[in-house]
């Protein structure tokens, strides 16, 4: 074996260094993904054109990117809240499905007067998402059952339940397709008149603002930081550890449920089989890249929204599978995680001894 260099754990990581490593990992990951795409036959210049110019710098592209960002930001905020208290919510897509199901249920059964229909759909989707993360939360808090597996399994179960509904009771009888029937106009989020961008963007901004305020000024943020860093010491000091974890994780589930409702009421106008598939990893990726900072979540979700827009274009014009978006997320997460080595540790050659 060659002599391994020494790693010395830094006690204090300078801000510039950690930013540098982050940027380095990000650039390396994107470069690897771009290299793969070029190997698959997408010419470099058009890759640049599609990803930067067409997604961020044209009016059409920007509105598409912003629209794609809306549910991404919501699941990203959800993941970030759970991650702050050390809860791995990997079943985001399940909570999203349940939120979409709840909203659709309200529509199909015509619950409540028309004017209140949309708010009711949104509120119920939050409750459904929170309920779906409730069981893993309970198991984790009561018996310390790892939430990684439980949230994931409930995600798969939620997806199969949606299939069960769409191929059964909720199938659109007029077309025979495995979709629910379309929502009535008053059940849709209003369009803002710029591409497909809809009022969901206001929901995202409002939720983010509320989250930032609560975290900055109330005890919630204080408790969350303490519990996330050292739950044992927090408990010994008398902090409501279980309540803090439960509150933030339920909020996380609620936001993911809301994301499902926003997709069905804002862009799809019906429940279909395809809406939740992309969100399995997005929430975790966004929350990690944003370092669980709520404002940063918006930025990362915006960029990732660009990925999805680009992915659609690549699929249409170059025949590249939309799996490229997932792959890029995976690669970037791997490189950014690995690059942290250089900020967490100081690396030294062996002494001359």
């Amino acid at each position: 074996m060659p002599e391994a260099p020494l790693l010395i754990r830094r006690q204090r990581v300078p801000g510039w260094l950690s930013a540098l490593c982050y940027a380095g990992g990000l650039i390396l990951g994107l470069a690897i993904a771009a290299g793969l795409l070029m190997a698959l036959g997408v010419p470099g210049p058009s890759l640049w054109d599609e990803f930067i110019v067409e997604t961020f710098l044209t009016s059409d592209g920007l509105s598409q990117t912003l629209t794609a960002m809306i549910p991404l930001a919501l699941v990203g905020l959800g993941s970030a809240l759970a991650m702050r208290v050390g809860f791995w919510n990997i079943g985001i897509s399940g909570q999203l499905w349940m939120g979409a199901v709840a909203a659709t249920w309200v529509s199909l059964h015509g619950i409540g007067p028309g004017a209140l229909r949309l708010p009711l759909m949104l509120v119920l989707s939050c409750l459904a998402g929170a309920a779906w993360v409730g069981l893993p939360l309970l198991l984790r808090l009561k018996w310390n059952v790892s939430e990684v597996i439980t949230t994931l399994m409930l995600g798969s179960i939620a997806f199969l339940w949606v299939q069960h509904l769409l191929f059964g009771a909720w199938r659109d009888t007029t077309t025979g397709f495995a979709n629910s029937r379309s929502f009535a106009p008053e059940e849709r989020l209003p369009l803002l008149g710029w591409g497909h961008l809809h009022a969901g963007i206001w929901i995202v901004l409002g939720v983010t603002l509320l989250g930032v305020l609560v975290m900055a000024t109330s005890r919630v943020g204080f408790y969350a930081r303490a519990v996330g860093l050292n739950p044992r010491a927090a408990r010994a000091a008398g902090l409501p550890v279980l309540g803090t974890i439960a509150g933030l994780v339920l909020a996380s589930g609620a936001l993911c449920g809301l994301a499902g409702a926003v997709i069905v009421t804002g862009t799809e106008y019906r429940l279909s089989q395809t809406i939740g598939g992309d969100y399995l990893f997005s929430g975790i990726v966004i929350a990690f890249l944003a370092r669980s900072q709520l404002l940063a979540v918006l930025v990362v979700a915006f960029v990732l929204g660009g990925f999805y827009t680009t992915g659609n274009v690549l699929k249409m014009f170059y025949g590249v599978s939309e799996a490229v978006v997932l792959l890029t997320q995976g690669i970037v997460l791997l490189t950014v995680l690995s690059a942290q080595l250089f900020s967490t540790y100081r690396i030294e050659r062996r002494g001359n001894a």
Binding site: R219, R232, A233, A236, G351
Partner: protein
């Protein structure tokens, strides 16, 4: 390898370390330190906590890589890169935390390391060699016993035996007697003496001067990362000189004055606590603690002390018995109710159970006050008030090395402990549970901790002091009891407690 093979004896020193520098991320632990060890000697390495004794020995065995300096074994300056290489060069170390795999048997632990890739050592072969070596050293040790089921003393024997089986001619023991009862310690030191007389070189890291006088040939003293006395003869020297060199000044140990205790603040009856694996940690423990007194609980570590502290703090449940805090029933009370009743806790591992290293100093101080409303209502946290409180505490408690916004994890041990004292020993503290409050601290910080505890008790609090350091117990307590296998002996007034009597109780002979 047998000791008679040690051809280097009388010529080159077994171990020679020169001008060793070692820093941990910019914080120097060793500065130009040195150490010289000869075959046939038991060589004491003495110094306070944090003087660099363990660090220099970890450099010798290549657990740490030195920043500068040289390590020469048997006169050869080959670079040792890993602990395994050090061991094959004849350097074996018995660490404070034994390097044995707890779930393996003694034989499996030996087989793990014995024989290179070419000559695998079967389990039965390993067991046979363990048995042989144990007989040679007069140990009683079952080769097929799982290490985690052995007592601390037995685990230590297994570690010594393994290091010897692996051919160590230079044996380093890092504070080996800290975890032993007096009788076990005597047996170990006698063994160490015998190993040196057979020709091996032994370095004994210790801070107990009577061990130096009784069993060692040479002594090296370290202070603040430097060697202040190198390889001095022990015979004929004055122990007080050594003490002065190690500590810088001699501590005066004020004996606690007899007190007239007030109302009972902590009453425990028949308390039993279990560990996570279901085994009994505390069994039928009863005590009564009154305002104005310090009750010391002595005992070797691992006899249920942390479990008792966790239970009193409200972190783990009692399986039987009752606890009353300041007159209120508190057996099943949550942490908050205990703290409202005046409970203050200084746990043994403050970075694990009390402070949050990643949070700023000010927020650590506010941890117990925020939920009580001391820093504003639920939806509005008054950060300015938090900062002011922290500034006051920093001045009053003389906390150095950081301001209100410094993460608590960057403070040195002594300053972190002062921070914890500032939080816990506020005006509301009535029952103080302190577990090894001065472990790992230098003399000055130890004094600050002791003074703070005395002060709090003078002001009407009661203190339960749990410590493995007998001197600390004798210095502070009004009454003393001993904890052994989860049970508590009857407390005796400090005037009647002698080190011998307590030692017998700790060993479980009384």
């Amino acid at each position: 390898m047998t000791p008679s093979d040690t051809s280097g004896r009388g010529r080159a020193p077994a171990l020679l370390m020169r001008d060793i520098d070692k820093a941990f991320d910019g914080h120097p632990a060793l500065t130009g330190a040195g150490f010289r060890l000869e075959y046939g000697h038991v060589h004491a390495l003495v110094g306070e906590n944090g003087a660099g004794k363990s660090t220099i020995m970890n450099v010798a065995t290549a657990v740490y890589a030195a920043d500068a300096g040289e390590v020469i074994v048997d006169g050869y300056g080959t670079a040792l890169r890993t602990p395994a290489e050090a061991l094959s060069a004849g350097l074996g170390m018995v660490h404070q935390h034994f390097r044995l795999v707890g779930r393996f048997t003694v034989a499996e632990n030996v087989a793990l390391a014995l024989g290179g890739a070419g000559q695998p050592c079967s389990l039965s072969e390993a067991a046979r060699r363990v048995r042989e070596k144990a007989a040679e050293l007069d140990f009683r040790l079952d080769p097929h016993a799982r290490v985690e089921r052995l007592s601390i003393a037995e685990q230590q024997r297994a570690e010594v035996l393994r290091v010897l089986l692996l051919g160590a001619r230079i044996l380093i023991l890092d504070e080996p007697t800290a975890v032993l009862t007096a009788a076990e310690a005597r047996a170990l030191l006698a063994l160490v003496r015998r190993l040196a007389d057979e020709g091996r070189a032994v370095a004994l890291v210790t801070h107990k001067l009577h061990e130096v006088a009784g069993y060692c040939d040479r002594v090296t003293i370290m202070r603040q990362g430097r060697t202040v006395l190198a390889a001095a003869e022990v015979a004929g020297a004055d122990l007080n000189d050594f003490a002065r060199l190690a500590v810088g000044e001699l501590p005066d140990t004020p004996r606690p004055a007899p007190v007239t205790p007030g109302a009972p603040l902590l009453e425990i009856e028949n308390l039993s606590v279990r560990r996570g694996d279901g085994s009994a940690a505390v069994e039928g423990l009863s005590l009564s603690l009154r305002a104005g007194e310090i009750l010391g609980i002595a005992g070797v570590g691992g006899n249920g002390q942390p479990e008792l502290v966790d239970c009193l703090s409200g972190l783990s449940p009692a399986v039987a018995g009752t606890v009353r805090l300041a007159g209120q029933e508190a057996t099943r009370a949550p942490v908050r109710r205990r703290r409202r009743a005046g409970l203050a806790v200084i746990p043994a591992d403050r970075s694990d159970s009390a402070l949050i290293g990643g949070l700023p100093l000010a927020q650590n101080l506010a941890l117990t006050g925020v939920w009580r409303g001391a820093f504003g209502p639920f939806w509005w946290l008054n950060k300015a008030r938090m900062r002011r409180a922290a500034e006051t505490a920093i001045t009053e408690r003389d906390i150095r090395g950081g301001g209100v916004a410094t993460p608590a994890g960057l403070l040195s041990g002594g300053n972190a402990q002062k921070l914890l004292l500032a939080r816990e020993l506020g005006p509301g503290a009535r029952v103080i549970v302190a577990h090894s409050p001065s472990r790992g601290l230098d003399l000055r910080a130890t004094r600050a901790v002791h003074d703070a505890l005395r002060q709090a008790v003078r002001e009407g609090a009661a203190c339960l002091l749990i410590s493995e350091d007998l001197e600390e117990i004798m210095t502070l307590s009004n009454r003393i009891a001993v904890m052994n296998h989860g049970r508590l002996s009857a407390p005796m007034p400090v005037a009647e407690a002698s080190a011998q009597a307590l030692g017998a109780l700790m060993a479980g002979h009384a």
